[in-house]
C-alpha cells in the first residue's frame, strides 16, 4: 500500500467549476479583439506596432521582475498581455515607441509587481502606466493625428487634429457641430481622433457584450458608470445646450467606453460585491463628468477610475451583503 500511489486528501469541496485566472484573462483578450481590429482599421500600422510594443514589453517586464524577485513565473496567466493591450489602447497613434516601453515598465513593475503581483495591485496597472505617461509626456500624449491619413490624406473633410473632448475643452469647435448626428455617428464608429483603442464605441460594446456573455464581468460597473455619465450629461444639456455637449457626445467621446467596459471592471481593483460595484461605477461616472466639465484636463476617465480604485477597499468595507439570517445590518 505504502509504495503505491497515495490517495489525495484535501478539504471539501472536491470538485471545481473549472474557472481559472488564465481562462478569465483569455476571455478578456478575446473581448479586446474587435477593438484591436477597429484600431488597425482607423490608425493602420501605427496601432499594430504600438500594441505589439506594449504587449511584448509588458510580458518581458513581468517575466524579468518575477525572475529578479525570485517569484514563480506568472506570464502564463495572460494578465500582462491584457495590461499591454489596454495600455496601448490608451495611447495616441503617434506615440513614440520608447515612451510606450517606459509606460509598460511603470505599469508592470511599479504599479503591479512591486505591490506583489496580480491580486495585490491597488491600481489598474494599465491605468497607472497611462497616467504616468500622460502626466510626464503631456505633449506626446496629445499627438496630432488624422484618421485615414495612412490611406489617403486628401480625403479628410471634417476631422481636425484635436480630439472631440479637446475641442470641447478649448471650445474650438462649435457645440452644435460636436453634437450633430453625423459627428456622433463618426464617434460611435471611431472615425475621430483619440487614443487607438478608445475611438470605436461600437467595437468596445461588442467586446463588453462578449464579456457579459462569458460572465467575466457583471453589468453593474459599466451600466452604473455609463448611466451616471448619461444622466449627468443630460442634466447639463437640459440646463444649457449652448455650452454643454449632448449626452450622446459624452457617451461616445474620449475613453469612457474603454474605461467603463475594460478598465473599471478590472477585478483586482474594483469592489467585490454587487452593491459596491454600483457605488464604484456611480463614483467613476460623477468624477468623470466633473473633470470633463470643470477640470483642467479635457478627459477624466483615467483619473476617475484611478481615484475610485483607491477607494475600493473602503467600498468593500461598507458595501457588504446582508448575511443570511441576520436582521438588519451585520
Amino acid at each position: 500500500m505504502s509504495e503505491e500511489q497515495l490517495y489525495s486528501v484535501s478539504s471539501s469541496p472536491h470538485v471545481h467549476s473549472g474557472a481559472s485566472i488564465h481562462g478569465i484573462m483569455r476571455d478578456v483578450v478575446i473581448a479586446m479583439v474587435p477593438t484591436f481590429i477597429a484600431a488597425i482599421i482607423f490608425f493602420g500600422l501605427n496601432a499594430l506596432i504600438l500594441t505589439a510594443t506594449c504587449v511584448i514589453s509588458c510580458v518581458f517586464f513581468e517575466y524579468l521582475s518575477r525572475r529578479i524577485m525570485k517569484r514563480n513565473n506568472t506570464i502564463n496567466d495572460l494578465s500582462a498581455v491584457i495590461t499591454g493591450v489596454l495600455l496601448a489602447f490608451n495611447l495616441p497613434p503617434t506615440f513614440p515607441i520608447w515612451m510606450a516601453v517606459v509606460g509598460s515598465f511603470v505599469a508592470i513593475v511599479i504599479a503591479k509587481q512591486l505591490f506583489g503581483g496580480l491580486g495585490y495591485n491597488p491600481f489598474n496597472p494599465a491605468l497607472a502606466g497611462r497616467l504616468f505617461l500622460f502626466l510626464s509626456f503631456a505633449f506626446a500624449m496629445s499627438g496630432d493625428w488624422t484618421p485615414w491619413s495612412y490611406i489617403n490624406t486628401e480625403n479628410i473633410v471634417a476631422t481636425t487634429s484635436a480630439t472631440p473632448l479637446g475641442m470641447l475643452q478649448e471650445s474650438t469647435g462649435s457645440i452644435a457641430f460636436l453634437s450633430n448626428n453625423s459627428n456622433i455617428m463618426n464617434m460611435f464608429l471611431g472615425k475621430v481622433n483619440g487614443c487607438i483603442g478608445e475611438v470605436s464605441a461600437l467595437a468596445l460594446i461588442l467586446g463588453g457584450l462578449y464579456l457579459l456573455w462569458r460572465k467575466v464581468i457583471t453589468w453593474h460597473i459599466p451600466v452604473a458608470y455609463i448611466g451616471t455619465v448619461a444622466v449627468f450629461a443630460t442634466i447639463l444639456y437640459m440646463i444649457d445646450p449652448s455650452t454643454n455637449a449632448s449626452p450622446l457626445f459624452h457617451l461616445f467621446s474620449g475613453g469612457l467606453m474603454l474605461g467603463a467596459i475594460f478598465m473599471a471592471t478590472d477585478m483586482v481593483t474594483s469592489p467585490t460585491d454587487r452593491s459596491g460595484m454600483l457605488v464604484f461605477g456611480i463614483g467613476c461616472g460623477l468624477l468623470t463628468m466633473i473633470i470633463r466639465k470643470w477640470g483642467a484636463y479635457p478627459e477624466g476617465v483615467s483619473f476617475s477610475i484611478f481615484i475610485m480604485n483607491a477607494t475600493t477597499p473602503l467600498i468593500n468595507r461598507v458595501c457588504k451583503p446582508r448575511v443570511f439570517g441576520v436582521k438588519g445590518k451585520a
Binding site: P96, M99, V102, G116, F132, L135, S136, F137, A140
Partner: protein, 289 residues
C-alpha cells in the same frame, strides 16, 4: 571579518537606540550563526542588553548616521521634507545643510541642558531650542540665498517638527555627553543631506533632465531635457523614487548577504502576522515533501 564587525555594530546600534528591537537582535544572531565565536559574542550582547552599558566612540557615532543608520534610507525618519523638497539637487542640498545646522545646534544645547530639563516638560523645551535654531537658519537663508529660501518655502520653518531632530534630541542628545552628541548630529545631518542629494539628483535627472547645483549658473542639461518624465517632479514621483531606492538598497543588502552565505532579513520589528494584506508569504507551498 568585516561581516562580524558589521553585526557587532548593528547590535550596538540596537542596544544604544534603546528601542525594543529584541527581534532585530535575534535576526542578527541568526545571521551571524556561521561562526560559533561570533555567536558567542552576540549572545553576550543579548545578555547585557537590558543593562545598556556600551562605550561611546566619537568615530562610530559620526559614521553610523551616514549609512548604517541613515535617517532616511534606514530609519525612515523625516519623510515630509524628503518627499516635498527633493525636486532638484540644489533643493535637496539646501534642505540638508539647513537641517544639519539645526541638528548640530540643538544637539549641543540639549545635551548641555540634559540634566536641567525636567523630564515631564522635555518635549516643549526641545521644541523651543530647536525653533530658535530654525529661526536663525530661516532668516539667514532668506538673507543670503533668497532663491533657495523661496523654493524651499514652508519646509524651512517646518524643520522644527522634523522628527530627525526631535528624535535625535530625545533618543541621543538627552542621554549623552556633548562631545558624542556633536558627532551624532554631524553624522545624522550629513546622512540626511546625502540622502536628499541622491534623491534630488535622481528626480531632477529623470523629471527635468537637468542637474542644478547652484541656480541656473551651475546647471547641467542632459539628453533627457527634451522629454523629461515630469511626473517624477510631482509628489507621486517622490514616493516612487524613494520606494525604488529603498527597494534597491534592500536588494543589494540581500545580494551582499548571499555572497557571505547568509540570508538577509530586513529589519522588521513586528513581523507580518497581523498584516491584513495576505501576501501569500504565510502560505508558501510546502517545500521538499
Amino acid at each position: 571579518m568585516t561581516a562580524s564587525k558589521n553585526n557587532t555594530c548593528k547590535l550596538e546600534a540596537c542596544v544604544t537606540q534603546g528601542s525594543t528591537c529584541f527581534q532585530l537582535v535575534a535576526c542578527h544572531l541568526r545571521a551571524s550563526s556561521a561562526s560559533p565565536a561570533r555567536r558567542e559574542r552576540s549572545l553576550r550582547y543579548l545578555k547585557t542588553y537590558g543593562k545598556r552599558k556600551v562605550k561611546m566612540n566619537f568615530y562610530i557615532e559620526l559614521v553610523k548616521g551616514l549609512w548604517k543608520e541613515n535617517p532616511i534610507f534606514r530609519l525612515m525618519l523625516g519623510m515630509c521634507p524628503t518627499l516635498a523638497v527633493t525636486t532638484s539637487l540644489q533643493n535637496g542640498l539646501g534642505m540638508g545643510v539647513a537641517t544639519l545646522f539645526v541638528l548640530i545646534g540643538s544637539n549641543i544645547v540639549i545635551s548641555m541642558l540634559r540634566n536641567v530639563i525636567p523630564d515631564k516638560v522635555r518635549i516643549p523645551c526641545y521644541i523651543v531650542v530647536i525653533a530658535t535654531f530654525v529661526t536663525v537658519i530661516d532668516l539667514c537663508m532668506a538673507a543670503f540665498t533668497p532663491e533657495l529660501h523661496k523654493s524651499l518655502g514652508i519646509f524651512i520653518p517646518l524643520i522644527v517638527v522634523n522628527c530627525i531632530i526631535l528624535g535625535r534630541a530625545e533618543a541621543f542628545a538627552s542621554k549623552n555627553r556633548v562631545f558624542v552628541s556633536i558627532a551624532d548630529a554631524i553624522g545624522m545631518g550629513l546622512g540626511f543631506t546625502l540622502s536628499l542629494a541622491i534623491l534630488g539628483s535622481l528626480r531632477e535627472v529623470l523629471g527635468a533632465g537637468t542637474i542644478t547645483l547652484w541656480g541656473s549658473g551651475l546647471q547641467v542639461k542632459t539628453f533627457l531635457s527634451k522629454n523629461p518624465a515630469v511626473l517624477l517632479l510631482l509628489p507621486p514621483g517622490g514616493f516612487m523614487s524613494l520606494g525604488l531606492i529603498l527597494g534597491f538598497i534592500n536588494y543589494m543588502q540581500d545580494l551582499k548577504a548571499k555572497r557571505l552565505g547568509k540570508t538577509y532579513e530586513p529589519p522588521v520589528l513586528n513581523g507580518c502576522r497581523h498584516c491584513i494584506i495576505a501576501c501569500g508569504q504565510s502560505t508558501k507551498p510546502k517545500e521538499d515533501k
